[in-house]
Structures are given as structure tokens and as C-alpha cells.
Symmetry: C2
Subunit: 344 residues, 2 copies
DNA sequence: GTGAAAGCGCTAACAA
DNA sequence: TTGTTAGCGCTTTCAC
């Protein structure tokens, strides 16, 4: 069933069918009804590829993520998909599994080519390479928006969570409570989010005139296992830290597991600050009374989606970039011990 | 950069460029090199949509899943993606979030239309509706393969995990160990997997002449919370079950949490059989000594992918359907108490 | 071996 | 308001 067949059956031209199907205004009710009847009867759907070719628009946005297991990515994706759908765009998901080759492959894939816009939440690729690789997209004026990855504003727009500031507020809180030896556990993947956290940690410590002991900075995967093992490692040191910052929710869970195993009570024997990666985590952390840095994945998803839509719908494209830095809110609960009080 | 531009620059016809780009054989080395040189220089990539239109093939498979948070779906997707890629197909992911409307929307979406084949791991839709909705795909001879969802073989191929058999082996093991009061906790979504498990449970109980107490059959979500709450509920009953079958890994974790909370030692005070949904779970369950029913998501993904590719590559399409039922292997560890022994 | 040309199904100027 | 027609970029017979 092509547009031609429909035109023939409805005894109109293909142009008219196209107008009716695309909801154009200037078609007489009579003709519209006749065409619609045939369309319904034949269950006709315009050929997507043909229309993409003719218009140069696909109405498709692709979201690139490392993997959707982490709640931050999962929720971001879910929210963005809904938001984009409301604006008439379909979303497709491309997972890179934290593999640089996959990331490169994506930008050469048919989907990157076909998409009207790309939202990428991946950050495994070297900046120079990435810039070279998205060059063709830029030439075609395709909006590419990066989440949690810095790029010069003339290359691509980007939105990052303020990891530096978040880390600062966490360290400040610990310092205020008398903690001078602070451990920190992170994963390895995602250049910006890792570097920024470490940078923020250093900056915060320095501005408080606290020495940074590199042995207190532990790296592994963004997993429960890493949280467990590295917590164990930190607390087995001759001079163990009095507080730990667990840089994502899995690592935080792992830390809790080890505390449990070691018979340590968080907020009493040991201090912990975690990271809520998505609103689904809130319940757990709040229940356990864990002080956290909170990411607003929903807001990031909504803003990113709206910005993308704005770029796509307006002609000329909107020039107001999305807010570039989301604050990481420090939610104070009860997992940080006040060492000052204990001493007095 | 279109094929025309390349042709002009290389001083050949578009047909020749097409042949070179698509790796056709009968092109002289001289010409091939000349064309390739221009292609490289201009970083030319054929327009995907145009080629889809001209050939009627997209080399794209879409995998439809409820959401990728569950390890079974995540791993299935990951493995299938790699397998399909090796065969020259790109994969796109479509998530339905367990929403029937989304499922319906998918089959009307451009992606369903464009895809060369569809692998669906969703099971929320009424059978009649589904059959009607995939009718257009069948007419176009597009292979649609369902995982964990029964459909008449003339409608679509399907592969299911043998939930009935799995449940039977679990109940049998418990019975052999003297358990007569068995609780079971499931989620609600996914018609086949839920119904089959309940059916299998009933069948197993009946064939052992054990009465089924419907209050022992608990349903909620496929989450840790459900596992926790329903375990609590079951064990607070006047006559609590002596063993619990937790029908997915999250529920199982939840059950373990409650045991822990209640000070019950699994394999001693209470018996539990869990479900390993993916190979990534194995470590945990094996570590904790939990007896499980094991799903082979990797094998299902590989088989499904190969079958799909077979259908797509061969002409006429292969008629050997994939194996229709995967056994759920019972991995006996130490979480089932032998009540007989205790009594003697 | 290579080129010319006819589509693939749809959209959008332009005409009427 | 409706129809005619020229593309969109590529593939693929069919000639040469």
C-alpha cells in the first residue's frame, strides 16, 4: 500500500493524500473524509524512510548511554523519552557499554546520521577524537547535546552536574563536624565525572588547609563490590579515615554492607556521605538516614529534552544554551558523626 | 556529499561508486582505488535512508523490552546486540516500561516498519490484540520473535523459558526435603511468565498430593521491596510456610533482607529458592549458598539472534524454529533445609 | 567492467 | 482547493 494506491482508490492526487495524512489545513472536508476512509480501510501508514528522505527530518532523537543499569541513566532515559515524545519525537536508545569503540561506532552509524538530534550521556572518549568525530554532525547543523561531559561551547552544548561544587559542600560538612581524614571511593569510567570529583575534593581540602593523602582516594568500578572492598581497605589502614564519601549509589551500598559486616554503625562509629543518582534512590537513603549529594536526573532529562526540542523546532535555532551546571544538592541526614561534640 | 559528487570527482558513474562502496566484485582495481580515494578524502558515507528505500532492507533489528534495569533484559539485550552486530545488523532498543500503550505504539512506530526483524521480550499485551497488531508485519514477511510469550506458531515464533518445568523441579526438591507448606512470591507484569509459574506451582503441588493454599501465593512487583514485604507477610501468618520460592532475583534479595532483619538464617531456620536471572547474579547466589532456578539469558539471546539472522539471510526463510523451551536449571546449593533429617 | 536510467515512496514547489 | 512534477540519494537491471 503506497500513497499512489491510496490516491487512486480515493480518486485524488498523491499530493492530496499527503496533505490529508500530514494534517494539512487547506483540504476540503469532503476530500479529507474520502481519503481518510481509504486510509483507514487499507490501514495505510506512510513509509517512514521515504518521508525522511523527502523532508530531511526523521523526528527521531537518539540517546546514547553507557548502559541502562545505573539508575541515573535509566531514569534520565525514561524521563527524556516521555518528554520528547510529548513534543512529537521518537527516541531510540543506543548503549555503548563504556566501550570507546562503541562510542565511535555510534557516531558513524546510520542512527547518528538519521537522527534529528543526539543526546549523549557518555564520556569515555578523548576530547580531540570526539571533536573530530562529531564534525560531520556539526556541518549538518545537527544538535548534539552532551550530559556530564565538557566540550567547548562552539563544538557542542553540554550540561554537567556540578561535581566540583558538590564535592566541596560534602567536604565542608565533614570538616565542620571535625573530620580531617576523609576517604573517597569512585569508579573509573566517565572522564569528566571522575576528574571533577577528584578536583573538587582536592580544592575543598586545600581551601581548608587539610592535607590530601592520596591513599585515601580509592578507585574501582561503580559497583557494590567496589564499595565494599574499598571501604574495607580504607578502614584497615593504620590511620583509617573517619569519614568516607561514596561517589555513587552502588558504591555507597557497598560501603554500608561492609560497615554492617564489620559491626560498625553509620553515623556513630563511622561517617558516610553517599550520592543519590536518581529519585528512586531517595527512599532508601532517607530510610537509612544517609547524608547524600543528590543528582537531579529528572530535571536534567527534562531540560535536555526541552532544549533539544527548542533547537529543532525553532528556525533559526535558539541560542540560549541549557543551564550548564546543575548543583548537586547536599541532603543532610544523620550519617555524619560530629567529632567536635564527642571531644568536648 | 552525495554519491553523485563522489562519482563526479572520481570521474566514474554513480553506479560504479555504488558498486565500490558496497564491495561488489566486478570492478577493476584501478577504478576501485580511484573511487576509494575520493570516498576516503571526502569521508563519504552513503545515506542510510536512501539505501533503505532503494533496497527495502535496513539491516536493523529492534529489540523491544519492558525496561533494561532487570538483569535478564539487560543481559539479553547486551548479548543479542553483539551477536547481531557480528552478523552485520545494527540493533536498536525500544523500552515499553511495561505499558501496554507503549507496546502498541511500538508496532505502529517507524522503527517497527523500518526494522528487518523484531525481537520482543515484552508480554503485556492481550493475545488477540497482539495478533491483530502484528498482522501487517507478517504480511511483509518480517520475522517477529517473541521471548517468554506464547503465540501460535503460524503467527510468530517464540521462545520461552520453561517456567512450568522449573517450578516443578523447585517444588519437587522442597518436597523431597520434607516441605509441604510452600510460599511463592512473584511480580505481576508479564503474562506468560507469571501464569506459567503459577501453573507449574499448582501442577507440581497436585502431582504430589499437596494442597495449594492460595494465601501462600503472593504477588507484587519484581522488586526488592516486594520480596521483603511479602516475605514478612508470609512468615507472619499463623501457619507460615517453611519454604519460599522467590520468583526473580530482586524478590529473592528482598526475602534475604527480611530474613536478615528477622534474624533468620537461610538454610537453617528457613528455606529459600531463588531465580538467577542473568549470569551476573551467579556470584551473589553462589556466595550466599542460595539454591536457584537459573535462566540462561545468554543462550536465549544467542539463539534468538542466530535464528533471526538465519531467517533474514536465507531465501526462502529457514523453517526450523528456534528451540521453543529453555529448561530452567535447578542449581542446588544450601538454602533448603532438610526437614526429614531434623525430625529423625 | 562500466554507464544510463528507471524506480523506491514521499513531499513540496508551482500551476491551475 | 487540488493536481503535476521534480526531486530526495541510492540501487539495480539492462545495455554497451
Amino acid at each position: 500500500m503506497t500513497i499512489k494506491d491510496i490516491a487512486k482508490k480515493a480518486d485524488v492526487s498523491v499530493a492530496t493524500v499527503s496533505r490529508v495524512v500530514n494534517g494539512y489545513k487547506w483540504v476540503s472536508d469532503d476530500v479529507r473524509n474520502r481519503v481518510m476512509a481509504v486510509v483507514e480501510a487499507e490501514n495505510y501508514r506512510p513509509n517512514y524512510n521515504a518521508s525522511v528522505m523527502a523532508t530531511g527530518k526523521s523526528n527521531m532523537i537518539v540517546i546514547v548511554i553507557p548502559e541502562s543499569v545505573s539508575p541515573f541513566f535509566a531514569q534520565f532515559t525514561s524521563v527524556a523519552t516521555k518528554e520528547l515524545k510529548a513534543a512529537g519525537y521518537v527516541t531510540m536508545l543506543y548503549q555503548t557499554y563504556n566501550d570507546e569503540a562503541e562510542e565511535i561506532a555510534f557516531f558513524g552509524s546510520p542512527f547518528a546520521q538519521m537522527a534529528d538530534g543526539i543526546i549523549s550521556v557518555t564520556d569515555g572518549m578523548d576530547k580531540e577524537l570526539l571533536m573530530k568525530i562529531i564534525q560531520p554532525l556539526r556541518e549538518k547543523q545537527k544538535p548534539v547535546l552532551f550530559i556530564d561531559r565538557y566540550l567547548p561551547p562552539d563544538i557542542a552544548d553540554c550540561v554537567v552536574n556540578d561535581n566540583i561544587g558538590g564535592m566541596k559542600s560534602a567536604v565542608d560538612l565533614l570538616y565542620k563536624n571535625g573530620h580531617h581524614q576523609i576517604g573517597i571511593i569512585l569508579g573509573r569510567t566517565g572522564m569528566t565525572i571522575v576528574n571533577d570529583k577528584i578536583t573538587g575534593f582536592h580544592q575543598a581540602m586545600e581551601s581548608l588547609d587539610l592535607p590530601v593523602d592520596n591513599r585515601y582516594i580509592r578507585m574501582g568500578d561503580w559497583t557494590v563490590e567496589t564499595g565494599y572492598l574499598e571501604t574495607q581497605h580504607l578502614l584497615s589502614m593504620p590511620e583509617p579515615p573517619t569519614a568516607i564519601i561514596a561517589c555513587n549509589n552502588f558504591i555507597c551500598e557497598g560501603a554500608l554492607k561492609w560497615f554492617d559486616h564489620a559491626g560498625l554503625q553509620v553515623g556513630k562509629d563511622i561517617s558516610l556521605i553517599g550520592v543519590e543518582e536518581s529519585s528512586t534512590d531517595t527512599m532508601l537513603f532517607s530510610w537509612l538516614g544517609i547524608t547524600t549529594l543528590k543528582l537531579d536526573s529528572e530535571r536534567a532529562a527534562i531540560d535536555a529534552s526541552r532544549y533539544m526540542v527548542g533547537k529543532l523546532k525553532h528556525d533559526p535555532p535558539q541560542d540560549t544554551p541549557p543551564e550548564t551546571e546543575y548543583p548537586m544538592e547536599l541532603i543532610v541526614r544523620k550519617s555524619v558523626v560530629n567529632l567536635n561534640k564527642n571531644e568536648s
